[in-house]
Amino acid sequence: MTEQEARAAVYAAIHLVAPDVDTDDLDEGARLRQDLELDSLDFLRLIETIHEATGVDTPERDYAAVTTVSGLIAYIAGNG
């Protein structure tokens, strides 16, 4: 999957889980937990939504690689 496609999926999922986050003006270095204030349930829903949209599953052992928006996009692009 291209990075653009991965980015679209990640942004759409963020919009769903945290509608108050402005994805038009998102700093991709933002940390999902601390900066976007997603809690563990939000995070679970985020990767679930991305999984449904792209087919890319993020197993728990890879959670450490997807702590930021850019990390998540790279992970989805690399595994899709």
């Binding site: 919009h15 108050d20 563990s40 349930l41 679970l44 939504t49 949209a53 087919g55 993020t58």
Partner: protein
């Protein structure tokens, strides 16, 4: 005859605003059917009926704010409370009940006459049960209910579903068991109820079922292919709860802050809190959870909170002094454990709706209900029982990164459990030092009900339970 009253949705609530009626006069409601949506300062809350019968009259307009306890609607029981025959003879049903006695035409007061007129009841055919045979409102409503029971087309009026038919969703006549709320949502989303798998009682279709169905079109089989396709944004937008206008949101946030402030102020004034803290070893629990999660798809994975909640609920069963209500000068322990789960709202503030019977639910159910509860709390739609029932509240601030939280008890509850963040700690054991994941559990409890010894026993019990996660 029953009245549907403005319920108290939490100890701090004094009034509420009706934002939506989910039924209309003439509708048949079962006990537990959602009847109205009430806006408190915390959330929009769906309120169920405690009566079974026909909605005779809505007494409050949408938008009206009324005090707790004010009647909102009147509900009349149908005369045939037992199993109803499928189709009573359609000819003259009302007189059949009414004319048993040679009723002397009783007195009919003007309001009762008006009511009868509105409900289409002929007062001459109804026997009065009031003083000197005077006709009461209840008489008229019963007659109306009888009329309604007999005359309504079967798809609007479902007496058939009350007979214990164990069949699942599509019952005889193609009717699907569902709440009025679910029907409305289905209509709005253009979903055919008959196609939705119901997860409610007796296969009833719930609102959550409808939303889930609408959100996930039958895409399961095509999943592998979607990898190659460009990502389709529609998965995101339409399922999100409508976001309120900014001013509305700001107003709500301010109202919520006031409500929290007044309740917590009252708590601190009336409840003599004491506080305990202990550090729990999570190594066994997290190792077990991670192993279990690797084999499961995202939707079935657990988070540590689910384990903590289950352990807390089980411990509360063993130490009943932390679970129940302190009202009118004495403590009533609760046999059920309904855990209030403090949910931070993204716009600020928090609500703590109940995860019912958390002690008896399997861990998977605790997890799925936790997710459902949190998403509805944030979407602004909770149910009355969820607001009123918590017997013990848990707050888990772990994701915000603090080590411990000492909460303020929600009256009339008598304790609050707090969990901090999971962290790695040096851990000395049997003369050896190791590193383990750990979490700080705290208890704020009511000294009128328990003391530190019992409170400490409760926290220790949570720790013990977490050492055998497979038994949770």
């Amino acid at each position: 005859m029953g009245e549907f009253l403005m319920p108290a949705l939490g100890a701090d609530m004094e009034q509420g605003r009706v934002v939506e009626w989910l039924v209309k006069p003439g509708d048949y409601v079962h006990r537990g059917d959602m009847v109205a949506v009430v806006d408190t300062e915390k959330a929009d809350i769906e309120v169920e009926s405690f009566e079974e019968g026909v909605v005779a009259e809505l007494l409050v307009e949408v938008g009206a704010t009324v005090p707790v306890g004010a009647p909102l609607a009147r509900i009349t029981q149908t005369p045939a409370a037992g199993p109803e025959p499928a189709a009573p003879a359609p000819a003259e049903p009302a007189p059949a009940i009414a004319r048993e006695a040679p009723a002397p035409p009783g007195f009919v007061s003007p309001p009762v006459r008006q009511l009868a007129h509105r409900l289409g009841v002929d007062t001459d055919t109804v026997r009065g049960t009031g003083k000197h045979g005077a006709l009461t409102r209840a008489d008229v409503e019963q007659a109306a209910a009888a009329l309604s029971a007999a005359a309504q087309p079967p798809d609007r009026h479902p007496p058939a579903t009350r007979t214990p038919v164990p069949t699942a969703a599509p019952s005889a006549g193609g009717r699907v068991r569902s709440s009025p709320r679910a029907r409305r949502v289905a209509e709005n989303l253009g979903v055919d109820l008959a196609a939705v798998p119901g997860t409610g009682t007796e296969g009833a279709v719930t609102e959550a079922d409808v939303r889930r169905f609408a959100a996930a079109p039958p895409a399961r089989e095509t999943a592998p292919e979607t990898v190659a396709e460009p990502v389709s944004p529609p998965t995101a937008a339409p399922t999100a709860a409508p976001v309120a206008a900014p001013t509305d949101a700001a107003e709500r946030a301010a109202g919520l802050r006031r409500a929290i402030g007044s309740l917590m102020g009252r708590s601190k004034k009336t409840i003599p809190h004491y506080y305990l803290s202990t550090t729990l070893d999570l190594r066994a629990a997290l190792a077990w959870m991670e192993l279990r999660n690797t084999a499961r798809p995202v939707a079935e994975r657990l988070v540590p909170t689910a384990l903590l909640l289950k352990a807390t609920a089980l411990a509360a069963r063993d130490v009943p002094e932390v679970n129940g209500f302190f009202t009118e000068g004495s403590f009533q322990p609760s046999t059920a454990v309904h855990l209030g789960v403090a949910v931070a709202l993204r716009q600020g503030g928090l609500v703590a709706p109940a995860l019912h019977d958390a002690d008896t639910l399997p861990l998977e159910a605790v997890m799925s209900q936790l997710r459902d509860l949190v998403s509805r709390a944030r979407g602004g739609r909770l149910q009355r029982a969820e607001m009123a029932d918590p017997t013990l509240t848990v707050t888990n601030l772990g994701d915000l990164g603090v080590e411990s939280v000492f909460g303020v008890i929600y009256p009339p509850q008598v304790a609050l459990v707090g969990f901090g963040r999971v962290r790695e700690e040096p851990w000395a054991r049997n003369g050896l030092l190791g590193v383990r994941p750990a979490i700080t559990a705290t208890l704020s409890a009511d000294h009128r009900v328990s003391d530190g010894l019992r409170g400490g026993r409760f926290l220790a019990r949570i720790d013990e339970l977490l050492q055998k996660p497979e038994e949770l």
